[in-house]
C-alpha cells in the first residue's frame, strides 16, 4: 500500500530541511506548530543544536489559534522576540497545521515585517514532503529576498546544498572550504552552513557555484538565470567507509542509495564498476543514467535490492533492516542523516 511503512521509519521532513538552511544565519526561526514539529526539528534533525542552540522557536499554536486563524497573535509573539534580539531577519516555517487551515503566508509575511520592522521570509512547508524540498524552498527564499546585484569577484566560490542532513557531518563546511581552497579559490561561501546572511547578499559576486546536493540545484539555476553565475554539480565528500570501498569494487555491480549528487559523484570515482544510483529524494534528470531510480515506496526499495543482483549496496545502515540478508553481496554503510539521524564517523574527500 502506498504510504504504508512496515519496516522503515519516516525520513527528515521539509520543515527540518528549511530550518537547517537558516540554522547558521543570525535569524529568528519560528516553526509554525504546536510544539512537536519543533521538537523533531531540533531534537532529532539538527545535530548542531545540542552543542550550539540557536534562536529557534515554536509558535506554540493551540486549537483555537488554528480554528480561528489567529495570525495576529503569532505576529505579536514574534514582535516580543524581535524587540529583544538583533536578528538580521525572521524565518517562519510551515508545518501540517498551517497547511490544513490554509494559512496565507504572504499576508503573514507582510504583517510580520510591518509590525516587527525586520525582513521576514516564509517557507510553506507542510510536513508531508521531504527535507530536500524544504531546503530548496529556504535557499530560494533567501536568494530571492536578499541577494544584491554586485559585480563578480575573482576567486569567490559559492556552495549550495551543504547541510548536515545531506552530508551527515556538522563540520562538512570546513572540509568543503578546504577542498575548494586547494583548487585555487580564495573565498569560499558555504551558504547556510557556517555563513550568515551577508554571504547570501553577496551571492551574485561568486564566479562559480558548486551544487553539492539536489536541494541546491533549483537555486543554482535561478542564480545562473538572474546573475549569470555558472554552476557545477558535484560532491567531493563521502563517508570514510564508502570512500575507501570504491577502490575495491572494480568490475562489480553496485547500488548506491543516497542523495543523488553524492551518489553520482561517488559513481564518477568508480569508472570500472557497474553502478546504479537510487534515491528516496529528489532526482534530477540531467544526472540520471539508464537504470537510475527514484524510490518512492518501501516495497520498491526491497524489490530493487532483492532483484538487482548487486555485489555491493552503498547505503545507510538503517535501511539494511528492510532487505533480506541474502539479497546482496556486501553492505557498505554510507550514513545519510536525513534517513537515520546518524552522523558519519568521518567524512573524507573522494
Amino acid at each position: 500500500m502506498k504510504g504504508l511503512l512496515k519496516v522503515m521509519s519516516p525520513f527528515a521532513p521539509d520543515q527540518s530541511g528549511a530550518a537547517s538552511v537558516f540554522y547558521d544565519m543570525n535569524a529568528i526561526t519560528v516553526i509554525c506548530d504546536a510544539g512537536g514539529c519543533t521538537g523533531n526539528v531540533c531534537g532529532f534533525d539538527e545535530p548542531r543544536w545540542h552543542g550550539n542552540a540557536r534562536p529557534i522557536f515554536s509558535a506554540g499554536l493551540r486549537d483555537m489559534d488554528a480554528i480561528l486563524g489567529r495570525d495576529d497573535r503569532l505576529v505579536d509573539k514574534l514582535k516580543k522576540v524581535s524587540d529583544k534580539t538583533d536578528a538580521d531577519f525572521a524565518a517562519i516555517i510551515g508545518t501540517p497545521v498551517p497547511a490544513v487551515i490554509a494559512t496565507d503566508y504572504r499576508a503573514l509575511k507582510r504583517m510580520a515585517e510591518k509590525r516587527c520592522g525586520i525582513p521576514v521570509v516564509t517557507c510553506e512547508c507542510t510536513g508531508t514532503n521531504l527535507y530536500d524540498e524544504g531546503e530548496e524552498l529556504a535557499y530560494m527564499e533567501l536568494f530571492r529576498s536578499f541577494t544584491e546585484e554586485i559585480p563578480v569577484r575573482k576567486g569567490r566560490l559559492g556552495i549550495i546544498g551543504a547541510t548536515p542532513l545531506n552530508l551527515s557531518d556538522i563540520s562538512a563546511d570546513r572540509l568543503l572550504r578546504s577542498h575548494y581552497e586547494k583548487e585555487g579559490y580564495s573565498e569560499v561561501m558555504c551558504y547556510g552552513m557556517g555563513e550568515g546572511l551577508e554571504s547570501i547578499r553577496q551571492a551574485a559576486s561568486a564566479e562559480l557555484n558548486i551544487v553539492v546536493s539536489p536541494s541546491g540545484l533549483a537555486p543554482a539555476r535561478w542564480l545562473e538565470k538572474k546573475y549569470g553565475t555558472p554552476y557545477r554539480i558535484e560532491c567531493p565528500l563521502a563517508g570514510e567507509e564508502a570512500a575507501e570501498a570504491k577502490e575495491r569494487l572494480d568490475g562489480r555491480k553496485v547500488l548506491i542509495v543516497h542523495n543523488q549528487v553524492l551518489a553520482c559523484s561517488l559513481r564518477d570515482r568508480m569508472p570500472e564498476s557497474e553502478v546504479t544510483v537510487a534515491s528516496f529524494f529528489k532526482m534530477d534528470r540531467s544526472l540520471m543514467r539508464e537504470g537510475d531510480v527514484r524510490v518512492e515506496t518501501e516495497d520498491q526499495f526491497m524489490r530493487l535490492v532483492a532483484e538487482g543482483g548487486y555485489d555491493a549496496v552503498i547505503c545507510d545502515e538503517l535501511l539494511r533492516r528492510a532487505v533480506k540478508k541474502d539479497a546482496y553481496g556486501e553492505w557498505i554503510n554510507a550514513r545519510h542523516f536525513a534517513v537515520s539521524g546518524n552522523l558519519e564517523e568521518r567524512l573524507c574527500e573522494l
Binding site: 506548530d33 512537536g36 534580539t85 487551515i101
Partner: protein, 433 residues
C-alpha cells in the same frame, strides 16, 4: 535601564506576592513563542526523552502502533525503532498533501491495519494483541471521529483497534494527550470478578523502583497482588488488572483513566502524590491508611529516611542548588524539601501552575530570593550561567544551564517513590557532591 538581552526571572517572594491571578506574561506559555533549547525538549517533544504518546500507547503488552500522520510526526520514532523493544512495533501510514485537506486517508486505515497485523504475525510469529492508531494535529483539525474509524478497522482486521490522540494542539486543553493516552491503555480491560487482595498502581509507563516501601506497606495490609501495566508480562496478565479491588493513582494525569475505569469496571481509586518532604510523606501514608480503614506502620522506613536526611544535611547544609523540571519530582515541592533540609535553592526552572502556588508561597517564606525561570520563555536564550553560581544541579535541564556544576539528572524511567525515593535522591546527590 532594562537589559534587553537578559533571561527573565521572578523571585519566589515576588511571585508569591503577585499570586496566580497576576501571573506575569513571561510565565504563561500561551503568551509567547516557545523557545526551543535542549532544556525545553521534553515540553516540545515529550517522546524525545522518556514517554510521549507514541511510546506510552505501546504500554499494552503485545500491542503495535500504526501512526497515521504526515511523515514529520513520525520522524523521531526512528530513534525508538532503534531501541530493541520497539523495533518491530511501529508502523506508519503517511498522509500526503491531499489527505491532510480531504481526509481521504481514513478510507485506507482498515486495510492498513489488517496489513500491519498480518505482517507483524508473519515477521514475529505473534499476532498483535491490539493495534493502537496514533493520530495527530491534522486529524484534530479535520475533526476525525477516530472512535468510529477504529471500530470499523477492528471489524475488518479482527482484533482490537484503539485511538491514541497525539493532539499537541490540545496540550493545555481539558484532556491533554498524555492524559488521554493513559485512558486508552486501560480501555481494553473488561469487567471481571474482584479480588480484595489485588490493587493497580496507575500513573507511570515504567514501574516504581523495586525498593519502594509502598510494595511492602501494601503487603503489610494484606494486599497480595500489586499490578503495574509496565510489569505485565503478557496480554493476559494485563487483562488481570480488571480484578483489582481499587486503583492507586500515582500521577494526576491518570485521574481521567481512573474515572473511566471506575465507571466501566466499578473499581474505585485513591490518589497519592510523590513528595520529598519527610513529614509530608508520613502524613500522606497516614491519610491513605485512614481512607482504607487500616493501620499501616511506616515508622521503620521513616526512621531510615530521617537518619539519611540528617547525615546529608549535616555535611552539605548551605550548598547551592539549581532545580529543573525534567526530573522525577515536582520542581517546587523538591525545592521546598531541599530548603528544609538546609540546602540553598538558588534557581528553579519550572512551570508555574495554580496547584504549585502553595509550594511557592511556602518557599517565599523560607527562601524568598530563589529565582524562578521558565524553560520556555524566549529570553532564556540569554541565560547567563555565571550570574549565579551553584554547587549542584538536579534535572537534565538544570544541567544544561550550568554545564560545569555536578548534575543529578534524576529522570530515569524507573520511578522513585516515597521514603526510598528520597533516600535514592540523597545517595545520588552525595555521589556527585
Amino acid at each position: 535601564m532594562e537589559n534587553k538581552q537578559a533571561a527573565y526571572y521572578i523571585t519566589a517572594a515576588e511571585l508569591s506576592e503577585l499570586g496566580f491571578e497576576r501571573l506575569p506574561s513571561e510565565l504563561k506559555s500561551k503568551d509567547h513563542l516557545i523557545y526551543s533549547s535542549p532544556a525545553a525538549l521534553s515540553f516540545n517533544s515529550p517522546g524525545a526523552q522518556g514517554f510521549g504518546v507514541k511510546r506510552a500507547g505501546l504500554a499494552v503488552p503485545g500491542s503495535v502502533m500504526l501512526l497515521v500522520a504526515p511523515a514529520c510526526c513520525g520522524r523521531n520514532t526512528t530513534m525508538l525503532a532503534e531501541l530493541g523493544a520497539y523495533a518491530d512495533r511501529f508502523y506508519y501510514l503517511l498522509q500526503d498533501d491531499t489527505d491532510i485537506i480531504t481526509g481521504r486517508h481514513l478510507n485506507r486505515i482498515s486495510k492498513a491495519v489488517a496489513e500491519v497485523a498480518d505482517f507483524h504475525e508473519e515477521s514475529t510469529g505473534t499476532r498483535p494483541s491490539c493495534v493502537m492508531i496514533c493520530i495527530t494535529c491534522v486529524d484534530a483539525l479535520l475533526g476525525t471521529d477516530m472512535e468510529r474509524v477504529c471500530r470499523k478497522a477492528s471489524e475488518h482486521a479482527g482484533l482490537p483497534v484503539l485511538p491514541c490522540y497525539m493532539y499537541a494542539l490540545e496540550r493545555e486543553g481539558r484532556v491533554p494527550p498524555m492524559t488521554a493516552v493513559r485512558k486508552t491503555v486501560y480501555s481494553l480491560l473488561e469487567p471481571r470478578a474482584k479480588k480484595s487482595t489485588t490493587v493497580n498502581l496507575l500513573g507511570h509507563f515504567a514501574p516504581l523502583r523495586d525498593d519502594s516501601e509502598i510494595y511492602e506497606l501494601l503487603r503489610s495490609i494484606g494486599i497480595k497482588k500489586i499490578n503495574e501495566i509496565s510489569r505485565c508480562a503478557d496480554f493476559d496478565e494485563y487483562l488481570g488488572m480488571a480484578e483489582a479491588n481499587f486503583n492507586i493513582i500515582l500521577n494526576p494525569e491518570s485521574r481521567h483513566a481512573a474515572e473511566d475505569i471506575a465507571s466501566r469496571l466499578q473499581i474505585p481509586s485513591i490518589e497519592i502524590t510523590r513528595m520529598y518532604r519527610l513529614d509530608k510523606i508520613r502524613r500522606q501514608y497516614e491519610l491513605f491508611a485512614g481512607a482504607l480503614g487500616v493501620e499501616m506502620d511506616d515508622s521503620a522506613f521513616y526512621s531510615e529516611a530521617e537518619k539519611r536526611v540528617k547525615e546529608f544535611s549535616s555535611k552539605h547544609a548551605g550548598k547551592r542548588v539549581a532545580i529543573g523540571e525534567c526530573l522525577n519530582a515536582d520542581s517546587f515541592e523538591l525545592a521546598l524539601a531541599l530548603t528544609e533540609y538546609g540546602l540553598k535553592v538558588t534557581e528553579i526552572y519550572g512551570t508555574v501552575s495554580q496547584e504549585r502556588m502553595a509550594y511557592i508561597k511556602r518557599l517565599a517564606a523560607v527562601s524568598p530570593d530563589t529565582r524562578i525561570y521558565t524553560n520556555l520563555e524566549p529570553s532564556m536564550l540569554y541565560y547567563d550561567s555565571g550570574e549565579l553560581e551553584c554547587d549542584l544541579t538536579i534535572g537534565i535541564d538544570a544541567g544544561y544551564y550550568h554545564p560545569d556544576a555536578p548534575n543529578v539528572p534524576w529522570n530515569l524511567e524507573i520511578q522513585p517513590w516515597g521514603y526510598r525515593g528520597l533516600i535514592g535522591l540523597i545517595d545520588e546527590m552525595e555521589g556527585v557532591l
